[in-house]
């Protein structure tokens, strides 16, 4: 049996809070088909927050690259045998993933 060489990559990946920039967005919400309400009209201002100050602002490609790089820093069961722990995922058929994601079940 040949030895599986898996040195992996060592990433030097900044946190999401250290990336992105003001105005970047990576989301797409449904169309506004009702009137946009001002929360102050319905909830007393004392119960409302100001901005989500330190939350990141990233665009889609920032998010994808960040988490892809993070994943490459891990060892996974698709790379090789992972015998550690009774509660680690063992190899599961890919068809299971597809079925679990079908909209009629998920």
């Amino acid at each position: 049996m040949e030895k599986i060489k898996d040195n992996g990559l060592i990433q030097d990946e900044p946190l999401i809070f250290e990336q992105g920039g003001d105005g970047r967005k990576g989301y797409s919400l449904p169309r506004w088909d009702v009137e946009e309400m001002k929360p102050e009209k319905f909830v007393p201002p004392s119960l409302l927050r100001k901005e989500l100050d330190d939350f990141p602002q990233l665009c889609e490609v920032d998010v994808v690259r960040h988490f892809t790089r993070l994943s490459q820093w891990n060892y996974g069961v698709d790379s090789g045998f992972y015998p550690l722990g009774s509660c680690t995922m063992k190899y599961n058929p890919k068809v299971n993933e597809e079925i679990a994601r079908m909209s009629g079940f998920a």
Binding site: L15, Y27, Q57, V63
Partner: protein, 449 residues
């Protein structure tokens, strides 16, 4: 030995080589240690295995049909960006739920560190753990923690907290024989009765548990209740089941919360018939040694580069069982990563806009519903994306009528609140179009005639 050969790579040749090496003639010989009378002598009575294409076809047929659902009550239908599914399909994320070996799981550790940080920013708290199972067990753990911190044995629990969360709390404290004292809600406002709360507070209460938005969708006024709890020497525990609300609601940390424990399913986790979900748990720095669950901390490696590890593990794992905080020794690792990716996509503006859209759509539905004969909005208090309707008609019959039109019209409250047996809890998220809301209202009107 047919189709599963795909997943077990050994060929007949490999098997023969291995048998020869260990000195056995056939595979059955390896099971000789099991007495013959206990060994299976015939195949199990199961149908033939399906091929992959047949399996897919079969399951596609088994799927539920699509309904227009106005259900919530602890599980919410929100949009999940495609990015989430694409990224967490990477086996590097879904293999090890817990990063025991930091050398091969820096990716997971950093992602969870980012998750913990986002939770603190969202809730206004100082430290978050790496997640719990779900909102119910997270809240139950918060109750246990309050007992540990204050060394008291009574907990005041609002009746406007999710009824199933309350049942789970009961289950958790029963073996310890602690006492739950219910705080009633104000029948006209749908909020916790803070005057009754004052009456019930004394020097034996470890904490007060309030959910906001509560089970009726109503936004609670937390600050005064937190003050009262603190005056009596107890902790303020704030629960939630709809995390998106904190896109616009004041973080409980700024309202005097000592522990925040709730459900994160709304952040990019599908409904999936009830699970897996995501328990969020956060507290103040001074209580960290009493906090249950995993905790990821920042450190440096041998080269002085930033790295992440599980920290303060002797709270709950590498310690005698009786001395441990919770023994949970796990977390919803993948779900926490999903939530992190979701919040990274939405970001500062997106979460706020998502919350505003939920509020706006629900307010539209409330307006439309209030114009239906036989339908009444019950509480005038502020709500987020859920509200209660009182209907003139048997809820079960009315809902059956709507179901026939492929609409799940709402959740009948009578099951949990016998005094509200003509009431429906209706949930409207950003996923409901204006047309759907109009259809729902029209169907409701017809069913009430």
């Amino acid at each position: 030995m047919k189709d599963f050969m795909r997943y077990i790579p050994h060929t007949q040749e490999d098997i023969q080589t291995m048998l020869k090496f260990v000195g056995a003639k056939k595979v059955e010989d390896l099971f000789e240690v099991i007495p013959k009378e206990y060994r299976l002598s015939k195949p199990l009575n199961l149908p033939e295995p399906l091929s992959e294409p047949d399996l897919l076809r079969h399951l596609q047929e088994l799927q539920s049909p699509a309904y227009s659902s106005f259900l919530g009550a602890g599980a919410y239908h929100h949009f999940i960006p495609s990015v989430v599914s694409a990224l967490i399909s990477r086996s590097e994320f879904y293999t090890a739920y817990t990063p025991y070996q930091p050398e091969i799981s820096q990716g997971t550790l950093q992602a969870i560190f980012e998750y913990q940080t986002l939770v603190c920013q969202l809730t206004g708290m100082e430290v978050s753990n790496a997640s719990m199972y779900d909102g119910a067990s997270s809240l139950a753990e918060a109750v246990l923690m309050a007992g540990r911190v204050t060394k008291r044995r009574k907990i005041l629990l609002s009746e406007a907290v999710h009824p199933e969360y309350r049942k789970v709390i009961q289950t958790y404290i029963d073996p310890d024989q602690q006492e739950i004292i219910p705080i009633p809600y104000k029948k006209d406002e749908g909020r916790t009765d803070e005057r009754r709360l004052s009456d019930l507070l004394d020097g034996e209460v470890s904490g007060v548990v309030i959910q906001s938005p509560n089970f009726f969708g109503v936004v609670e006024d937390l600050h005064p209740m937190a003050d009262k709890a603190h005056e009596a020497g107890g902790l303020m525990i704030v629960g939630f089941s709809e995390a998106v609300a904190y896109g616009i609601l004041k973080p409980p940390g700024e309202e005097g919360a000592d522990i925040v424990a709730g459900e994160g399913q709304s952040f990019g986790i599908p409904l999936s018939y009830g699970g897996p979900y995501l328990g969020i748990f956060a507290t103040r720095e001074k209580f960290v040694r009493n906090m249950p669950g995993r905790l990821v901390g920042e450190t440096v490696d041998l080269e002085g580069k930033r790295g992440f590890v599980l920290t303060l593990a002797t709270r709950e794992q590498h310690i005698r069982r009786e001395r441990a905080t919770s023994n949970i020794c796990t977390n919803e690792g993948l779900c926490a990563v999903m939530a992190t990716i979701f919040l990274s996509c939405l970001g500062k503006r997106g979460l706020r806009e998502l919350a505003l859209m939920n509020l706006s759509k629900a307010e539209y539905a409330k307006k439309v519903a209030s114009q239906i004969r036989g339908c009444k909005l019950v509480f005038s208090s502020p709500t987020f994306n859920e509200f209660i309707l009182r209907i003139q008609g048997e809820p079960e019959r009315v809902l059956e009528g709507l179901k026939g039109k492929k609409i799940l019209g709402g959740f009948p409250l009578g099951r949990f609140y016998p005094e509200m047996n003509h009431h429906l809890l209706v949930t409207v998220t950003e996923m409901k179009t204006r047309e759907e809301i109009d259809c729902w209202a029209e169907a409701l009107e017809k069913a009430l005639k």
